[in-house]
């Protein structure tokens, strides 16, 4: 299950980086492109990504979702999440982080070169997403091996739609994020290290509910960074 930085680098969606930098469907010129390549290279040499997850049985009502394991159950009140997890028999909570080295690198760029600092922010975001993509596929494979072929639903994180941000606390308690992967939560519910993701991932037997839709499913249609 080891995921190498080279694998993640390979998986990074460069269009996503363009989008984070405000290019929409456009493309940067050669000088910006070469900076993106350089920063991605630095990231993949520097960061130590880690993740932790747990798989639950999933029961969905109209207004929320209950995840249960042998000795515990957690409930999320969220209609959007319920819609996202419809038809899912199982769901995973995952937390993933690029670690503190990524933040150090970002700080360094802010001192040396603001352009690269902005690019590094975008690359860091795309990098952690790529990492999560690989992680969730591994989880899916593993669960499928035990429970029959399942398919992934799009990742759903605290703060999306009507799923409140304070659900972060559930993730941190359930996954022991701080002890296991060094991820911490501030009083204002932000995560340190900053390049980190927590998410719910639905697993469904329905092959039609693929996990590619992502951004376009969001109700916030005037978003600056929306996929086009």
């Amino acid at each position: 299950m080891e995921i190498r930085n080279d694998d993640i680098r390979e998986r990074v969606n460069i269009r996503e980086i363009y989008r984070y930098l405000g290019y929409g469907a456009g493309e940067p010129d050669d000088s910006v492109y070469s900076m993106i390549v350089e920063v991605l290279g630095q990231l993949s040499q520097t960061v130590q990504p880690r993740y932790v997850y747990r798989v639950y049985a999933c029961s969905v009502s109209e207004t929320g979702v209950t995840l249960s394991a042998e000795d515990r159950a957690v409930t999320f009140e969220s209609r959007n999440l319920a819609a996202n997890l419809a038809q899912c028999s199982r769901a995973a909570l995952i937390a993933a982080t690029l670690g503190i080295a990524a933040d150090k690198l970002l700080q360094k760029y802010e001192i040396l070169n603001m352009t690269k600092a902005a690019i590094a922010q975008a690359c860091g975001a795309a990098y952690i997403e790529a990492y999560c993509d690989i992680v969730q596929e591994q989880i899916c494979e593993q669960v499928s091996a035990e429970a029959g072929k399942l398919y992934l639903r799009p990742r759903f994180s605290p703060g999306y739609g009507d799923l409140p941000l304070h659900c972060q606390k559930v993730f941190f308690a359930e996954l022991e994020c701080t002890k296991r992967i060094g991820l911490t939560l501030t009083d204002s519910l932000l995560m340190y290290p900053t390049k980190s993701v927590t998410a719910l991932i639905g697993l469904t037997a329905n092959p039609l509910s693929c996990h590619i839709g992502r951004c376009k499913n969001c109700a916030c249609t005037d978003c600056e960074f929306r996929e086009v």
Binding site: R54, D71, G99, K108, M114, G182, L189
Partner: protein
């Protein structure tokens, strides 16, 4: 009996896991385990008894998760939970001791105050300050000490900086023995990047009693990691592994290594050099019982001093050994007017850039000197040390004669620091040695005393001997001293180099101490100094110099260094030499290339080419174009072209920033010229900018700051996670008319609202502009902002409009 008397003399056993046993007895998910100290004391006592009856010597009180942050959500205080926890451990010991009386002599038993991680990342990259962490630990230590704990166990920690705060809190507020066990991954790294050698160096320096591993790994994985620790560690070693690696079954995390297998592996760990053993997650009294049965009679390996001279940063250790080291000397204002100016204007980035370039050029350690008569040196030293460590991986040498700055630098340093310097004067030794001892610094010792710098080799050696002897009286071993044989210029005494080199040789090879020199002093007063410096540097290394304090950006010096290493066989297969040499061969071409295209200032800025912008500006200045005209006729219009392109979505953020960088380079050229003429560039007005309290994402704020600076505004950047009161204070004190606030999350927009409310209540006369990912015009209106900027250019337009109306 005292725990310290047994530690390292015979094998000792810790207890095993607590959490899983509590869950079996009904602890619910999300419940605070330490609350059971008051809710179900009999259960906690019973678990302790089971471990003691299994034969363990140390029970860890059920206090692991207690701290002020976690207690906020419970009905109890830190003091109550810690006191109850320690008392339960002591009661269990007393019960077992009583029960055993008459049968056979009870084995030694101790109650440990168990301290875990706070669960927050420390500044500068995280949320809470070093002092807050320290205070949090202090509260726990005071309560545990009062309650009568026999020792302090700091465990399952994974951030060297947090560990340092905990150890200082333990040592400064109690006399109890301190044991630290850390959670490493299979690669031997802490979650924050530290390795075994770097934290071990730090902890030995801080004077803890034992170090080791717990949690994270099973005994098998610890076997692979243990050699890294036995190699560098001069203290008793503790191993408290999990019962294997965690396996998730049906959403449950379980550990599968059974007592027999566990104990067999622990036996091997003891054979390898551990002298204290116990268990962590998934281990039970049955595991510990089997460990005691199998290992109880074992002879431990004697604990030996590895005699290493070592300094460390947060993530790696640097050893003084056969291969000389480079200590970068550039972070020092002496003789550098630009550096002095940066210190006076609190331009920390200037200092950080000096550090980064030295790291890039091959330094192993960075000297940090920020002393100027008119500045608050202790404060600046603290800031410089923490700021540099946020971005640079190298160990630092705290360089100051100010005692308070020394203490601050060492205290807030993450790792085992180097200290520059002490000398043979009684006053100096009395002042410096106690601080060096407390923080475990490697100290640079200057071979001079009340009589000045001895003119003879024997005279310098006598001072060196005195320093060694006095240091020993303070408990500082020879390995933590590095002798500076002192360099006087050959322009004032033709035997000066010889005296230094002979002194070096004898200190290194007869006294057996490592050495350091400020190399370039040798040529003071002579022309073409680098010729002498490089020759002397080579001679000094050949005479036993362990570390040269030099300028790593000096090519001749570094050439001498790499060549010396290749010639003396310390550069394996000349790999480093070859790498540097081939790198040098490539570079000139690149420099020539960037020079080739000459363009106007306007073009350079629009294209975002910093070097060309700088050169074009110099050219205009040489043509006697007035600097204000350059700004107004070339610079600003070019920036406007890019800004407009950005707003019309023809150009994008990276281009906007590249242009900003180019404009910055142009300003730099103008400022240099102006200051040569004794003038200063004007400002359109001051703007305070900050990321609000509770928010840590500051890239947006920094982008805005860069752009506004280029448009001639004086930016007062208060950083991130900024208290509303500080913003108010700055606005009032500096009479600022515009404040820019940034917030990323809905949870922190609340602080933005609070800040605006405070400003309105106290100071009606300033405008507030806001921006950030979750903000909208509607939101901005609701919280009472004067202006909502949807992108970086918006803030430029707004600030310019205020300026034009004379409202700034």
């Amino acid at each position: 009996m005292d725990f310290r008397e047994l530690l390292g003399k015979r094998i000792l056993f810790f207890d095993g896991g607590m959490g899983t046993l509590l869950q079996e007895r009904g602890l619910k998910a999300g419940e605070v385990p330490e609350m059971w100290n008051v809710l179900h004391p009999e259960i906690i006592r019973q678990i302790h008894r089971e471990y003691l009856n299994a034969g363990c010597n140390v029970v860890s009180a059920n206090t692991f998760g207690v701290n002020a942050y976690k207690c906020r959500n419970t009905a109890c205080t830190v003091d109550e939970l810690v006191t109850a926890g320690v008392h339960l451990a002591q009661e269990a010991i007393a019960e077992v001791r009583n029960a055993k009386q008459g049968s056979k002599k009870a084995h030694p038993m101790f109650a440990a105050l168990d301290i875990g991680s706070i669960g927050k990342l420390l500044k500068p990259l995280g949320e809470i300050s070093f002092d807050e962490a320290y205070q949090t630990f202090r509260e726990i230590v005071l309560a545990g000490d009062r309650a009568g704990a026999d020792l302090i166990l700091i465990e399952t920690v994974s951030d060297s900086y947090e560990i340092k705060a905990a150890v200082l809190a333990a040592k400064e507020n109690s006399d109890l023995p301190v044991v630290v066990t850390m959670i490493f991954d299979e690669g031997g790294k802490l979650l924050t990047g530290g390795d075994v050698a770097s934290v071990t160096a730090m902890l030995e320096g801080l004077g803890v009693d034992a170090v080791g591993f717990n949690c994270g790994l099973g005994p098998e994985q610890m076997k692979k990691l243990l050699p890294q620790l036995t190699e560098c560690c001069s203290l008793p070693i503790v191993v408290n592994p999990n019962a294997g690696l965690p396996v998730v079954v049906d959403g449950q995390t379980i550990f599968t290594v059974e007592p027999e297998e566990f104990a067999q592996s622990v036996r091997v760990l003891v054979e390898m050099g551990a002298s204290v053993a116990g268990g962590c997650c998934g281990t039970t009294p049955a595991h510990i019982r089997r460990v005691v049965e199998l290992c109880g009679d074992m002879e431990i390996k004697p604990v030996t001093d590895k005699n290493l001279t070592v300094v460390s940063s947060y993530n790696h250790a640097v050893y003084f050994a056969r291969k000389p080291l480079i200590i970068g000397e550039r972070i020092n204002p002496t003789g550098k007017s630009k550096f002095k100016q940066a210190l006076r204007s609190h331009d920390m980035e200037y200092i950080y850039r000096e550090g980064l370039s030295q790291e890039e050029n091959g330094a192993h350690i960075l000297d940090v000197n920020v002393g100027l008569p008119e500045i608050d040196e202790p404060q600046l030293m603290q800031e410089a040390v923490t700021g540099i460590q946020a971005i640079i991986d190298l160990p630092l040498q705290i360089d100051t004669s100010d005692t308070e700055a020394m203490e601050r630098g060492l205290r807030y340093y993450n790792g085992k620091p180097m200290l520059n310097s002490v000398n043979g004067k009684k006053e100096s030794m009395e002042r410096v040695f106690p601080i060096a001892k407390k923080y475990g610094a490697v100290v640079v010792c200057l071979c001079l005393d009340e009589g000045g710098i001895p003119e003879t080799v024997e005279g310098r050696l006598a001072v060196a001997e005195k320093l060694v002897k006095t240091a020993a009286a303070y408990g500082i071993p020879k390995k933590n001293l590095v002798m500076d044989a002192l360099v006087l210029t050959i322009s004032t005494g033709q035997d000066n180099a010889n005296i230094t080199l002979q002194t070096l040789r004898r200190i290194r090879f007869e006294m057996g101490l490592h050495t350091v020199l400020g190399v370039s002093n040798i040529s003071f007063g002579l022309p073409e100094r680098s010729r002498i410096n490089t020759a002397f540097f080579t001679m000094a290394m050949n005479s036993g110099l362990s570390a040269g304090i030099v300028n790593p950006s000096s090519e001749p010096m570094m050439n001498a260094y790499y060549s010396f290493n290749a010639l003396t066989g310390v550069d394996e297969q000349c790999m480093e030499y070859i790498a540097k040499a081939s790198c040098a061969a490539e570079n000139p071409g690149a420099a020539a290339l960037s020079k080739s295209a000459e363009m106007t200032l306007d073009e350079a800025i629009v294209k975002g080419l910093a070097e060309s912008a700088y050169e074009a500006t110099i050219k205009l200045l040489d043509q006697n174009k007035d600097s204000l005209d350059i700004i107004n006729e070339n610079l600003i219009p070019a920036l406007d072209v890019v800004g407009k392109g950005f707003e019309e979505k023809r150009m994008f953020l990276p281009q906007l920033l590249m242009s900003a960088d180019a404009a910055k380079a142009s300003f730099e050229a103008i400022r240099t010229t102006l200051s040569k003429q004794g003038k200063q560039s004007g400002s359109k007005g001051k703007i305070v900018i900050a990321t609000v309290k509770g928010d840590i994402h500051d890239i947006g704020k920094n982008i805005v700051k860069t752009l506004l600076e280029n448009y001639g505004f004086e930016m007062i950047d208060l950083g991130k996670d900024v208290d509303p009161q500080l913003i108010l204070k700055t606005v009032q004190e500096q009479n600022v008319r515009l404040v820019g606030l940034s917030a990323l999350m809905t949870t922190t927009v609340v602080s933005m609202e609070e800040t605006i409310r405070l400003l309105r209540e106290q100071h009606a006369d300033c405008k507030v502009m806001v921006g950030g990912a979750v903000l909208t015009q509607e939101y901005a209106d609701r919280i009472g902002a004067d202006f909502y900027s949807r992108d970086a250019m918006g803030s430029v337009r707004y600030a310019n409009a205020l300026w034009e109306r004379g409202e700034l």
